[in-house]
């Protein structure tokens, strides 16, 4: 069977939130630090800040022919616009991880598992709103279990500006712990 192991993940928000970076870190974690196949593709507008933005990752044990996401297993979403655009395209039984403070208007959804992770607020409490995407990534790793935590931490270190390792790994742990508590409750 082809594609039996194929997992599709979509990160979405607006330009400047680190959406594309989240996808690259995730795909690199799968590919270089977990010995799986992975590919990241992206879509953004000509405006580098504020425009709609998505970053897609396909992870598979097998060779990946088509690299784009068709029907995501997981949607990680950080803006109202992206939520409206993509929330109804998640696979039946799939997972939605959303930042509720960025998405005031939520829809009634069936057959999906929805997790609220206030990543932007958590990042603001750390005095560094810029790491909200990494908080979200920590939550994503805890909730989905698709990737090994240490592999993602290695990938974060390899894909962020030098000197920000401590800040980013701290943000990752914050998101991871928040989601662990969510899962317990």
């Amino acid at each position: 069977m082809v594609n039996i192991m194929r997992i599709e993940i979509r990160f979405a928000g607006f330009g400047g939130q680190g959406i594309i970076k989240s996808g690259i870190i995730t795909a690199a974690a799968a590919c270089l630090y977990s010995q799986k196949n992975a590919v990241q593709t992206q879509s953004y507008g000509p405006e580098s800040r504020g425009g709609a933005c998505k970053s897609e990752v396909v992870i598979s044990e097998e060779e990946i022919d088509f690299p784009k996401v068709v029907e995501p297993d997981v949607l990680v979403v950080m803006s109202q616009h992206a939520y409206n655009e993509y929330v109804e395209r998640v696979k039946q039984g799939g997972t939605i991880i959303m930042d509720p403070n960025m998405i005031p208007h939520e829809k009634e959804l069936q057959n999906v598992n929805v997790f609220h992770v206030p990543a932007t607020k958590i990042a603001e409490e750390m005095q560094r709103k810029i790491v909200a995407n990494i908080v979200m990534l920590g939550a994503f790793v805890a909730i989905t279990g698709i990737l090994d935590k240490d592999a993602v931490k290695e990938s974060i270190k390899a894909n962020i500006p030098k000197g920000t390792e401590e800040l980013n790994l701290h943000a990752f742990e914050k998101g991871f712990e928040y989601a662990k508590n969510l899962l317990k409750s």
């Binding site: 690259i24 795909a27 270089l32 992975a38 992206q42 088509f66 784009k68 068709v70």
Partner: protein
Amino acid sequence: MSKKGVLLTGAHFMNGDIACAEGAIVAGCRFFAGYPITPATEIAEHLSERMPEIGRIYIQMEDEIASIAAVIGASYAGLKAMTATSGPGFSLMQENIGLAIMTETPCVIVDIMRGGPSTGQPTMPGQQDVMQARWGSHGDYEIIALAPSSVQEMFDLTIDAFNLAETYRVPTLLLADEIVAHMWEKIVIPTAEKIRIVNRKKPNVSPEEYLPFMPDDLVPPMACFGEGYRFHATGLTHDEHGYPKTSSSEVQERLVKRLCEKIRRNEDKIMRVEEVMLDDADVVVVAYGIVARAALSAVRKAREMGIKAGLLRLITLWPFPQNHVAKIAGSAKRIIVPEMNCGQLVREVERAAKETSVVFLSKLGEEPHTPMEILEAIRRNS
């Protein structure tokens, strides 16, 4: 002194643009001139750091016309040279691409195709420059264009593009789309002994005996300015000395036909395709670039359903692999051509397929054809 070195052997996770830049470095590119444009900017950005650190030249020019002009000059001075652009910049380069063809200048031009015409959709993919790549400059000529489908091929085919440019003294195009250029994927950079590098043929006569445009097996050996060989290069029709001969029908016929023949007679050595499950295929998808990845997925799904489908993936777009298409047209019932344009390479496929019917699938905008869309076309036509 080199900080990171020339050849980064090993596994990496990078995007297509960066892989292209690293491929150029490995191929021996010593000079890059360009003007940043989405979605090719990362090539320039990456080379602006890498070229100086390994003692090579990176110049950001004032525009794309100047960029290709600088590349031609650098190549004539003996350096392997490259530029990278997208649709609007590629349009500006067309006149000087003709000069590179006429002066038989080895060089590599990367065109990352975005949505056109005009400035179109800068961040979206397209396959709309395929005919411009072939016919964009005026006059008769042959050109080489390669179409990568993966980040690995962005690296590999950039090296091939330099090798072909050096072998045939012709501008060679890497014609990629925005998705392949911006996609992040694992690539493996091989060890030096596994990489084939070709350098231009040099004259084996003294400067006094050298005729710069006297072909040796259709391609003239190339001395470089500054090596003691005095010669003249011009966009005007020229004789074997390189001097203009604007009134001689015979010289025009001899020169222009040779510019075409040096590619046409070597088509078999230049053309590359990937054939997937073609032996017993009733329906064959002919595709290239990112669309070929959707087509491969569709063909595999069709086979699971018991449909005899196959894929002919074109790696060389120009010269067009017409013999490969003619061969499948002899055994398949239908050919399906999905492209991210309004119908470009499909016309070449129709020409080569003769009596076999060809179905065209157009797609424009953000997303390529999905595997399901191509699978549906395979089912309808099986």
